[in-house]
């Protein structure tokens, strides 16, 4: 303002006075940030001081010395060798692998179910669309913990005892102790089948790459799906029959009070996987529906006008574009599923939180270390999952011109 008035007046040109330090944005920003840092450091220092005093008063050690001490407790299900003579460190890994198992199973089932229901909601069949809508509205409006309790206490714990087991097809049995499925027992020569399977996969990748190159060069399509299916299924199948079916099945049998043999699946694991995947599926269904509905009508109509069949329209036009919308929210659903698997603690499945943040914390009393490690583990899982899904997203994203 001063500059303009001065220019109009008769006097000499005076540069505008520099604003006082107090009004300069850079100075203010620096002050705010310094205050924030000082506040945070002071806060952390006070907390650290209180923590160390409280721990000293309660005679609780600090540091990670407990890692190699004997834990002395059992874990009902473990993917690694673990018994009550193992260390706390091994308990950490046993719990972590159990969590990863639940998360992996949950992601697979939730995705399958979620896609089926999401596509079902867009079905031209009025009844199917309504049914899928009812599924979504029911499951996503109930707390997950309630659903887990329902599956575990009201359904699985109310099943009959081993003697009155429910017999399922293919030699599986279901009772209050869990689900018993037949275990495959490889016999001599089974390795050849596995080798044939691996060869089938390698050959399929080769066929896929060749067909792609050919289509880019000549425009001719090759039935990749059927060829690869034949390679992956028929090749090992042929070897399997040629070698005289070298795979036996060990069936669960009732001996005394319980079933022996086969692969036992704990009711806790079942309840957790069923609960997590049906719950997450209701969210995935909404994402899938929004994704497919988000592809402009014109795309479908253009594909029809080009004479593509409805299957090809879906596969080549609609789904690639829908995936672009679906992947980012799908990632966050996967992360939610991994985080929600920590509810295992409520139904007694030995997942990471239940084993480490529950039992180990109770036994050692080292809350700070245990909770920090827990958070670190979940942050790592989050980061790895989002990194993978970002890579996948970039891979499938259409290149826009």
């Amino acid at each position: 303002m001063t500059a303009t008035t001065n220019r109009q007046g008769p006097g000499p040109l005076v540069p505008p006075a520099k604003p006082s330090l107090l009004y300069r944005p850079e100075f203010r920003q620096a002050v705010y940030q310094i205050l924030l840092v000082v506040g945070l450091v002071a806060g952390f220092w006070a907390i650290a001081h209180n923590v160390s005093e409280n721990l000293a008063r309660q005679n609780i050690a600090s540091g990670f010395g407990f890692w190699n001490r004997t834990s002395g407790f059992d874990i009902s299900q473990s993917l690694i060798t673990y018994n009550n003579q193992s260390t706390y460190g091994q308990a950490f890994w046993a719990g972590l692998f159990n969590t990863l198992l639940v998360a992996a199973l949950g992601v697979v089932f939730a995705t399958l179910l979620g896609f089926i229901i999401g596509i079902g909601r867009l079905s031209s069949n009025w009844l199917i669309a309504r049914l899928c809508g009812a599924y979504v509205e029911t499951l996503r409006n109930l707390p997950l913990l309630l659903q887990l309790f329902f599956w575990y206490f009201a359904v699985l714990k109310n099943l009959p005892g081993p003697r009155q087991s429910i017999v399922l097809p293919a030699g599986a049995t279901l009772n209050v102790r869990g689900l018993y499925i037949p275990a495959p027992v490889p016999e001599q020569g089974f390795n050849a089948v596995l080798i044939a399977f691996a060869m089938g996969i390698v050959a399929s990748i080769g066929v896929y790459m060749w067909a792609r190159r050919r289509q880019l060069a000549t425009g001719e399509r090759f039935p990749v799906l059927w060829t690869t299916l034949a390679l992956i299924l028929l090749l090992p199948g042929a070897v399997y029959i040629a070698l005289g079916q070298p795979l036996g099945w060990e069936y669960p049998v009732l001996r005394g009070f319980n079933f022996q043999g086969g692969i036992p699946i704990q009711p806790e694991l079942m309840a957790l996987v069923v609960g997590l995947s049906t719950y997450t599926a209701s969210f995935i269904a909404e994402i899938v529906r929004a994704g497919i509905a988000g592809v402009p009508r014109g795309q479908r109509e253009a594909a029809n006008a080009l004479g593509l069949s409805s299957g090809l329209t879906m596969r080549l036009v609609v789904i690639p574009q829908a995936l672009r919308i679906i992947i980012p929210p799908l990632t966050s659903q996967y992360l939610n599923l991994a985080k929600n698997s920590s509810l295992a603690v409520a139904i007694g499945y030995p997942d990471f939180v239940s084993v480490f943040t529950g039992t180990v914390l109770n036994q050692t009393g080292q809350a700070v270390e245990v909770i920090l490690l827990t958070m670190l583990v979940f942050l790592t899982i989050s980061l790895i999952t989002s990194a993978f899904m970002n890579w996948f997203n970039k891979h499938i994203a259409l290149v826009e011109r």
Partner: protein, 367 residues
């Protein structure tokens, strides 16, 4: 040509009930099969539910024994006997009118606030933000004006569910706004601190945060100072939902056109005036559906507090399963169905409300 096409009625197979059925249920062999499967599913579910909840249900009784007979369905006397516990927990019986009065005060404030047509939103907001919290605190906790003090250990049931969810979201609001602004700030340290807090909290499950409330928070405090267990859970739930709320609000901030910020700057408004008078009112209005959805998530998640020994609706249902007097094979299912119905009514109602607001916003966008 006496009759034009307009005069011909459409074929009977294309209109009316038959036409509708053909078009929507039996348009192709595949669809016909799906329809049959669908009818079968509906029949099975309705049949099972009707038998369990009505035909085979026990309606009268005084203990679990009355509900134990072969083929017994729901055990409704269990709900009847425990209903007031499910609603209030162990809140002393002669004092329960205080809880009811708090609900009434909340409804008086909330209903006109939620209906966009009713005027006086400013007065209404002040009532909800200032008067109601103070009144609710005095009423529920007591210890003043001759009201006996009710320790929070006695609270339970739906009361705790509602308290945790609403205090959680209300407490999260100011911090959520600050974090959202901080994440978009030009000051690097402020930005890093906000991003760090938001991402760390969103990366860990609520259970670990609640564990932290029960075992770590007491360690943080100087000797001799303790905080009530419910209070600890409330603080942690509020911090937790602040991170989620911050991301929702950030979405709203990003949707505000640049011109609004620049116009505020051009008018010479300070940062606080610019945000408080121009940007935030618009941004918050945009994200009401997102906030309601966060609240629904939080409302469902409050059931996790039972893991640290606070008995919300689900917790108190779960606790009463162990009552030896009411032991029966169907007690558990009955309790979960009851709790599920209550949760479902709240969540479904809120999600419909959020849809309604979303449509309204979309309509006002069209102009």
């Amino acid at each position: 040509m006496t009759s034009t096409t307009a005069d011909l009625r459409p074929p009977r197979s294309e209109v009316g009930v038959v036409g509708w059925l053909r078009k929507n249920l039996f348009s192709s062999p595949m669809n016909a099969i799906l329809t049959v499967i669908g009818i079968w599913i509906i029949w099975t579910v309705v049949n099972a539910v009707a038998h369990w909840a009505f035909a085979n249900a026990t309606w009268d009784g005084t203990s679990g024994k009355d509900c134990t007979w072969p083929g017994a369905g729901a055990c409704w006397p269990f709900i009847k006997a425990k209903f007031s516990q499910f609603m209030y927990g162990r809140y002393p019986e002669p004092q329960r009118w205080r809880v009811d009065l708090t609900y009434v005060l909340a409804i008086i404030g909330l209903v006109p606030l939620m209906i966009p047509r009713i005027p006086g939103k400013l007065f209404n907001t002040i009532y909800m933000l200032v008067f109601f919290p103070i009144a609710a605190f005095l009423l529920l906790v007591g210890g003043y004006f001759g009201l006996p003090y009710v320790p929070t250990e006695l609270w339970g049931g739906l009361l705790v569910t509602l308290v945790v969810a609403s205090v959680g979201i209300a407490g999260a609001f100011p911090l959520g706004i600050l974090l959202a602004l901080g994440r978009r700030s030009r000051m690097p340290i402020v930005r890093w601190v906000s991003v760090g807090f938001i991402e760390i909290v969103r990366g860990v499950p609520l259970i670990t945060v609640l564990f932290m409330a029960s075992v770590m928070l007491p360690l943080f405090l100087p000797e001799g100072m303790t905080i009530d267990k419910l209070m600890r859970a409330l603080i942690m739930v509020a911090l937790f939902s602040a991170a989620y709320l911050a991301e929702v609000i950030r979405g709203g901030l990003q949707a505000i056109p640049r011109g609004q910020f620049e116009a505020a700057d051009a008018l010479g408004l300070t940062y606080a005036q610019k945000m408080g008078l121009i940007v935030l009112p618009q941004a918050l209005k945009l994200v009401i559906p997102g906030i309601v959805n966060t609240f629904i998530g939080l409302f469902k998640d409050t059931s996790l507090v039972l893991i640290i020994g606070i008995f919300d609706l689900l917790g108190i249902v779960q606790l009463n399963q162990t009552d030896a007097n009411w032991f029966s094979p169907s007690t558990g299912m009955t309790g979960y169905v009851f709790a599920g119905l209550v949760f479902w009514i709240f969540c479904f109602g809120m999600s419909r409300y959020s849809l309604f607001i979303e449509r309204r916003l979309a309509e006002s966008d069209k102009r």
